[in-house]
Amino acid sequence: MPADPATSSTGNEHARMLRDSVADFVKRGTDIKRVRRLRETQPGFERPVWQQMAQFGWLGILVPEAYGGLGLGCTEMAIVAAGTASALTPEPLTAAAVLAAGAIMRSDNETLKRELLESLVAGASIPALAWQENAGVIDATQCTVRAEPFEAAIKLNGGKKFIAGAAGADGFVVSAQSPEGLTLYWVPAGSSGVTLDLQPLADGRTTGTLQLNDVVVPPSHVLASAACAREALEGAIDTTLVMAGAEMGGVMGRALDMSVDYMKTRVQFGKPIGSFQALAHRAVDLHIQRELSSAVLDDAVALFDAGVTGTRRSSMASRVKARCSEAGLRITREAIQIHGAIGFTDEYDAGLYLKRALTLSAWLGNAAQHRRRYAELAVTHE
């Protein structure tokens, strides 16, 4: 079973329906052949599938009803994130509907916010969040892109890196330092002065690098003023860390299931290899890692849905990302070992799971970075 954050909230009708729609989608709408076909292509996903996700309501799970969304919580989003990731779905679901949407939702330009969220939820427009500038940084306040007054508008200069879901994005939420402080701007893709480069990720998708050269932004595209921009980014990032953990849960769950199945059927020395205690104990250790991951994830979604804020929220997010990244990488690495040579082939799916785990682990900080962040937050908390 993939990590299933909703087992604790049985009776939740939304959760049940979402689980069904995810199971159904994974079974029919997407398959590993499609995942393989879309690897190393651009944008690396399919708009019709994105539309389908919109119809299921997935893109608006976290978006308040007043803005066209379902107004549900992390519990429900985690079900979809884990389910789609377990099938290695390449659509930028968490990048757009959690990370970018999270920043937009917490912004204070009501008109723009409504417009962006409604078109996101409808599947019409895909936003991406461009906040990071250097590798290894989880701190949203480390921002050097400059926003300067220019005639009646604003001019942006600088660069952003590691933008998830940049391929195929219709626009970018860009953080910049304005004279008032950290501010968020909406920059439609293809605006004059904007250059987007895509670099391959291990799992066959891409990450974006954005160059902004004298990009002119009208005042109506100031999405979040300095009064709320920082909290918008930090809230979005913390929520995404938890959802990346849920995705990792889906990945590790499928990789472990696949390995355990293989241990039951692969025969060497006249016995299923699962009967060799060295492998059996290994599989049990991996199962423990999976359960630890799903337990911390359960706690996290409950805490987030109860409205946790500040340092407690960030600590919890780091706990999830640390555990899930560590466990996900370990399980997918061991999946190769358990399979032997066939696990090292591109034709077999175990490698695809390892590569998604590598990608998810490196996104927004790996296990080591989040253990450190957790420790630093604990110190400041005292």
């Binding site: 391959p200 990488l329 082939t345």
Partner: protein
Amino acid sequence: MTPPDFNALGDDDFRARVREFFAQHYPPHLRFVLRRARLAEMKAWYLTLSRHGWIAPNWPREYGGMGLDTGKMIILLEETERYGVSRVPDHGIVQVGPILMKYGTPGQQQFYLPKILTGEHIWGQGYSEPNAGSDLASLATSAVPDGDDFIVNGQKIWTTLAHDSTHIYLLARTSREGKKQEGISFLLVDAASPGITIRPIRNIAGHEEFCEVFFDNVRVPQANLVGGLNKGWTVAKALLSFERINIGSPRRPQYALKRLEQLAHAKGLFEDPGFVDKFTALELDLADLGSLYARYVEVVKRGEELGQEVSMLKIWAMEAWQRLTDLLIETAHEYGGMPGEHSMDGVDVDVLSPFYYARPGTIYGGSSEIQRNILAKYVLKLPS
């Protein structure tokens, strides 16, 4: 053309000779290729080595090898690794040559050995099958006598560089009686024989290096049998002592270690006690492997047989290599999820290639689990 007696040189002189040779002859664009290089890329280097009498360092001089003693072999391999010289397709040199010297008929030796030296014959190893991996003795590819030939039917898999090989050395079943190991024969097969189909298999690093090889009524002359009928298991297991320790040498992980060190310096990580401990633990894992390795090298130098305990070198070398590439990925942060070479804090590193290629080290050549079984049984003498 008899090459000089390198063993007569002092170690330092020999090392200098090797360095000079590489600097002079090795194609710079092939340094530190982080995958298994293909024959087309390596052919010119193969021929260069061949022309200078350097292609078979492990072979005695009377067979056209360099005849290096163990100490000189180690120096050569250290320098190979240090300079980033890629492996040529070397199964003929490392496996077939020594096997034929020990078990081959004079006719087989005279025919095959010179062609390995010149690169006319390139060999691939056809041992594993879909249902015979760790349990190699259960292999099912059959060789049935028919006149002067055997008729071979079956399938081999994971045959490294079969698509670059002119020949395949094969373990095939010639008897179904008695112990499984006692019904296996060692055959030399021309890869161009009718009935052989080779299909490359892409690995997770994206390269086609190993293959499936199908045998459909392939005729192999009985004269190509090595070591006698049903004696193939003995032939295949009689690896020279040196080859058995070589796979456990501490050299393999050097690229990853060096890049990790450079990267850590560039990122200022040696100011970070948490990182210093992780890095040093790995550095010492490899340094101590070096000490253990040297101990076995001495055994070989004295001309003594190595026992089963040599399995521990391979376990430790391969698993330390994996841990090292895990730390490389971790240290690369976002780039740990991005293939290819990237400039990180001014250091150019490809972190995923070493990570991918460290994975099968615990699978091929006897998996880590199998090596542990061997140690438990033969060294600790635990009941099984």
